[in-house]
Amino acid sequence: MIEVRDLVYEYPSARALKGVSLHVAPATITALVGPNGAGKTTLLRCLAALEPPYSGSVTIGGLDTKQAPRAIHARLGYLPDFYGLYDALSVRRALTYTARSRGIAAALVAAAVEKAAGRVGLTDRLEARAGELSRGLRQRLAIAQAIVHEPAVLMLDEPAAGLDPQARRDLSQLLLTLKDGGMTLIISSHILAELEDYCSEMIIIEDGLIVGGRAIKVRDVERPRYMLEIATARSDLREFLSARAGVDVIEADGYHALLTHTKNALARAKLIRDLLAAGFEVSSFGESTKTLEDAYFKQVGKG
C-alpha cells in the first residue's frame, strides 16, 4: 500500500530524513516510533503528501506524492499531533463539513457523520459545540474527522494523547476494526505500551534513518506470542513444544518458552492439556505483553 524509496527530506539547516525506504502492507497497523526529533512527524507529513521530498519517492496505492498529491490527500485520513477544531461548530456540523470537504456526496453525508460519531462514541454529543468538549472528547472528534470519509490509509500522530484508559481501550478496538475493514494504519507514538494492543509492525526511526533498515514484525494478530512458564525445569521443553502442530518456538530454556501459536482458544486449551499430560508443571501461560518494547530495545541496542 505504501512504498517509500530513498526518501530524503531537508530543512534549510539540516537533513531530517536521510534515505528512508520502507514498505507498508495493506490492512496492517504499523507503529512509527523513535525519540523526539528523530524524524517521525516529518516522515508522516511526507507520507501524507504535505511536504515534498528533496529526493526519493513516496507512493501510496500506486500514486506518487509528487505527481498526484491531491489524489493521495483524497485517500488519506491524517490526525496531526497538534490539531485544531472549529470550536464554534457543533460536532455534527464539524463532521458534516469534513465529510463534504472530503468529497462525500451530499446525500450520503448524514449517514457518514452518524457512523463516524458512533465509532468514536460521540453520538450523544452531536449537537454539542466542539469548544465545549473535554480534551478526551475533542480527541475523539478529531479522530472521527480523520475517518469520516473512510480513507484507505489512516495516519495518526499521538492519537491516544488525552484519552482516559477506557477511551484508549476503545481506540485500540476502533483501530483494529478499521484494520479488519481493510484500512492501512500508521500510528506514531512515544508510548510503546499504548501501541502494544493493536500494532503488528514497527518502524523505528532514529536520526533520520530506519533502524535495521526495515519494518519489524512485532505482533501477528492471528498468531500472537505466548509466554509459557513451568514450575520444575525440563530440558526437553523446546523439543516437546516444537513437535506440537502450529507451535513455533522463538526462544526457550528449562523454565520458560516464548512461542507463537494460533489465537484459537480450543487449540490453546489442547496445547495446555498436552503439556500437563506430558508431565510439564505449567504455572503460567499467557499472551506476551512486552513484545513491542522488547523489539524496540533489541533493535536500538539498549535496555
Binding site: E10, Y11, P12, S13, A14, R15, A48, A49, L50, P52, Y54, P69, R70, H73, A74, L76, Y78, P80, F82, Y83, G84, L85, Y86, A88, L89, R93, Y97, T98, R100, S101, R102, G103, Q145
Partner: protein, 451 residues
Amino acid sequence: MNPEFQRNLWLELTPRRMFAMVVALALIFFAAALTGGLVSGPGEAAGWLYYLIVVVWGSRNAALSVVGEIRDRTWDGQRLSSLGADTMTWGKLFGATSFNWFGGAICLAVILIDLMGNRGVAVALIELVYYLAIGVIAQAAALLASLIAAGRRHAHSQFGVFLYQAVGLAAAIIVYIIWATADPAGSILARRAPADFIVWWGLAFDARAFLLLSLAAFAAWTLAGCVRQMRLELKMRNGQYVWLGFLAFIGVYVAGFDAWLSGWQSLMHLDAVARRLLLAGTTYGALAYIMVFLEPKDRVHYRWLGSAFAKFQFGPALGELQGWMTATLAALGVGIALLVWLGQTPQDEAMVGAMLGFLCRDMAVVVLANMLARRRGGDFIALVMLFALYVLLPAIVKGMNYETALVFFFPRAGDPLWLSPLLAWSEAVLATALAVGSLALPEDKAAAAPA
C-alpha cells in the same frame, strides 16, 4: 454548496449577528437622515460605512481566513481536503467576509437609492461596479498577501494579520485614487478636475470606461494570484503560464502609457518604442524586487533547482523557477531589446547595461542575505545591505570627495562609459557566486572540508 463557503456561513452569518448589523446600520442611517452633521445624509454615510465594513474590516477577515486556520491548527486538515484551489479560494474569500458583505449589501442599497435619485440610474450602476470592485480587490489583495506569507511560514502573528490587511487597504487606496481621477463629481479627498480621457498606446479612451476595464482586469489578476497561491498551499504545481501571462499583460499595459514619459526632460530624446521598452523593463525590474522579498527563499528549493539544471533536467527546472527569477529574466530580455533598439547612443546603452547588472546583483544580495540568516530576518538583512549599498556607502564616499567611486554602487555615467556596466556585472557575478556557495547544507560543507 461549496463546503468551505457553507462552513464560513455557519460561523459568520448567525441570526444574532445579522440582527445586530441590521439594527446598528438602521440607527446610523436614521441619525444621518435627521442630523445632517458630519455627513450630508444616509447616502454619504452608507458610502463611508461600506468602506469601513467591506474594505477595512473585510480585508482583515479575508487575511484571517488563512492565517486563522494556521493559528488554530486546522490548516493541515483543509489542505488534505478534496476541495480544489478555486473552490477553496472563493469559499474563503466570500465566506470569511460574508458578514461584511451582508452589511455592505445594506449600505450598497442605500447608496444606490441615493444615487438614482440624485445622479441617475447610469451613474448608480457604474458606482455599483466600482464599490463591488474595490471591495473584492481589497479583500483579494489581503488574502493574497496572507497566502504568500503562509508559503513563507510567516503567517501567525496579529501583526502579520495587520500587515496583510494593510496590503488590502493599500490596494483599495490605489483603486480609490485612480477612480477619483476620473470622477465627474471630484474626489472626496483630493478635489480636483477629473480626467475625461486617457491616452494609451497612442489612442484616447474614455477615462471611466478605461478605468473600469482596468479595475476588472486587475481584480481578475489578483484573484488568479490567490488561486495560484492556494494551489501551492494544496501542494499542486503551478507551472509558469499564468505568471508569464501576467508578465506579458503588465508589460503591454504599462508600455501603453509612454505618452506620460514624453514630457520628461531626460527622456525627451527617446522615441516611443524606446520609452515603451523602458517602461516595460522598469516594471519587470520593480516586480523582480517585489517578488524577491515576497517569495520564500528556500535553500532546499534552490539546491534542488541547481541539481536539476546540473542534470540538464531543464523542463522541470524551468517549471519551478520562482516569480522573481522570471521577472528578472523578463527585465533582462526587454533590457537587451532596448539596448539593440538604442543602437548608436552609447551613453544610454551604458546606463541600461548598468541597471541590468545592478538588478542582478541586488537579486543575488537578497538571496545571499537570506542564506546567511540563521532563521528568519534574512529579508531585513537584505534591506540593510541594499540600504548600505545605495545610501550609506555612497554618502560616505561622497563625503570623502571620491565621487568617481559612486559608480561602484549604482548606475551612473562613468568615464570611460563601459566602467559602470562592467562594475555592475562584476558585482552581480561575485554576489551570485557567494549566494550559490551559501546554499550547501552545513553538514555537506563540513564533509567537503579537508580534515
